[in-house]
Subunit: 376 residues, 2 copies
């Protein structure tokens, strides 16, 4: 039994699915790929049980076959080759596979397919309820890239360790929060009429962001799994089976003071202030007046401090308000495609809303940040 | 007291000398720069006691002054600024220094200069014997880049943890070895008539490689220190005070079998073989015949193996010989500017010489590699 494949094409597929292979696991079988050839279609599987990736490509093969190959070694060998045809020759008598090229021969042991865990299937034929949306890969990537940073890293509230995909009458909404900040992004152009919430874990979100391209993605949700079907690859992830907190209740509706400031300029200032805001709270203080913000940070331990004055447009009462400089930096970095940002404030103790001034079509984006206490 | 300096110019100087600042040290004073302004010339010092860097630049100053500033914080603040003029204002009453720009003010505590360790001076006026060579910065960098990789990482033989600078009648010789491989590079165009050996420690070599440019470097050696004087920076390093082993005695003179092979092609093969040569010895086997090399490596634990056939020109008896694949890879990588390399061999147990086929003017380069045993 043998099959042939172009080395660079195989490398492209392996590079996309190898992120699902766990680097340290007591289940050694997960350090492998499953190769499944059926009528000339090669499907390669990788999984860590929670998250699976499948890749599809055509190969020239003289038989149908299934075998399990060491993921890292195979990937390293394939990507070390120049563009060439690789012939995979199965040696059943000693359970080895030969990779043959013009000048080289590489021998790798394989395992039987029965040892590889089953990968869940998510499609229209599932018995349970399935919700489906189609979304442009670029737009999904943008939504993920603008929201993913605010997912919680802490295991105490598992629901927050993922991104909320909320089907609403207005469109598909993406929400992330760690309790200190929150990002709320609505894609109006995605038809998602049923009211329903799904939480996709951080690992799936991160891998998705890497494999998305400009093509259409078909997304399937059941109550336990999500599947993202791209052109020649599919990502299947277990969902987080917790209830997402009522995020809408923390968003203030009547922050009447408005502050407009240049995004990049403020973020450059914040980055310098981070050198001085080294305490636990990483506090940076904004002193707001009609035309200026004074930004100040101080390192209590060393007595070092920094302060800068920036131009702004502020409509509201003069106010001193403190923020975590790292959170502010992350928010502004994720709003950098808008030249200016708008802060909506009410008082030094109430959540602040930060929005891009330049709106995008069919996309509503809102970030929220809790202030930190400033000691009078 | 105050002085003014361009932010980007100061950043350039600080970036060059900050490598001398130790990252973890029980002597907290070493985490600082010493600033010394004398008649408008600012000298900045950084040291870890074994290695020191001095940087020279002109500033506009209203007084002579000396003060000690936290290295990392100062460097981070300066490089976070756009191009601007920074005014340093000394506040003697509270031992702080203000850095003022158009829009910002940064306050940093300073220490008194007396706390900073003394930096040795190495120049013609030293009482002890001084040997001096002048060398083009690019050429010194090339010599270092081709030899540094073979210095020993092991502390058991301190002399090998540095690069030998040998003054000879033929020129200046650079030697590195770790007992398994050796690099011997002679710069014929450097006039170094006295017969004398100096060992420069690895850390100095690494930093030197980063700061060298195309300008002339004046190198001073005393019995205990070396000083490398660049245009606006000086590196002073303690020398390794051990005797260098008699490297010449291990270089075989009568390796009569000659193998010529394309450098890049062989190295690409070696890189693939490294995926299989995973045992302690990282063994790769060369089987030499008149027109071909067969290269083979095997992972005993998993039974995986790789073999490739390459074209070559070989004059000698057919031979199987084993090498450490990682050492071979490093040697070939450092000979990559010669399209072909020449191996001089005698037997599977005797040191092999590897040289570039394309010779450079005024530069003799020879690498030596001990074979590893091949189990029949």
């Amino acid at each position: 039994m043998e099959f042939r494949v172009n080395s660079k094409e195989l490398e492209k597929h392996l590079s996309k699915i190898i992120p699902a292979v766990p680097t340290r696991t007591p289940m050694k079988i997960l350090e492998n790929f499953l190769f499944d050839i059926n009528d000339g279609l090669l499907t390669i599987y990788a999984t860590d049980l929670d998250l699976s990736l499948k890749s599809f490509m055509n190969v020239v093969s003289d038989a149908n076959l299934k075998l399990v190959l060491p993921a890292k070694l195979l990937y390293d060998v394939v990507r070390s080759l120049k563009e060439t045809t690789i012939t995979f020759q199965v040696q059943q008598q000693n359970k080895k596979i030969n990779l043959l090229t013009d000048t080289g021969k590489y021998v790798i042991s394989y395992l039987e397919p029965e040892e590889f865990p089953e990968i869940p299937t998510v499609n229209e034929e599932n018995k349970q309820e399935v919700n489906i949306v189609e979304i442009n890969g670029d737009e999904l990537k943008e939504a993920i890239d603008k929201t993913a940073f605010a997912m919680s890293k802490e295991e105490v509230r598992p629901a927050l360790q993922g991104t909320l995909f909320e089907f609403t009458e207005e469109g598909l909404r993406f929400v992330t929060t760690d309790g200190h900040r929150l990002v709320n992004l609505l894609k109006r152009n995605i038809n998602a009429p049923i009211k329903k919430q799904y939480i996709v874990p951080e690992r799936a979100i991160n891998i998705l962001s890497r494999i998305l391209d400009e093509k259409i993605v078909k997304v399937y949700f059941t109550n336990t799994y999500a599947s993202f079907k791209l052109n020649d690859i599919e990502l299947i992830s277990r969902l987080i089976s917790q209830k997402y907190p009522d995020y809408a209740s923390v968003i203030p509706l009547e922050n009447e003071y408005l502050l407009k400031v240049k995004t990049q300029e403020l973020n450059d200032t914040i980055k310098r202030m981070m050198l001085f805001s080294t305490s636990n709270t990483r506090k940076v203080k904004f002193s707001l007046s009609k035309e200026n913000i004074e930004v100040k940070a101080e390192d209590i331990d060393t007595g070092a401090s920094g302060e800068e004055k920036l131009k702004c447009e502020y409509q509201g009462e003069p106010m001193d308000i403190g923020f975590n400089s790292q959170y502010m930096n992350e928010i502004l970095s994720h709003l950098s495609d808008s030249e200016e940002v708008l802060f909506k404030l009410h008082s030094p103790t109430k959540a602040v809303i930060i929005e891009p001034v330049e709106k995008k079509e069919e996309l509503d984006l809102m970030m929220l940040l809790m202030p930190v206490r400033i000691n009078a």
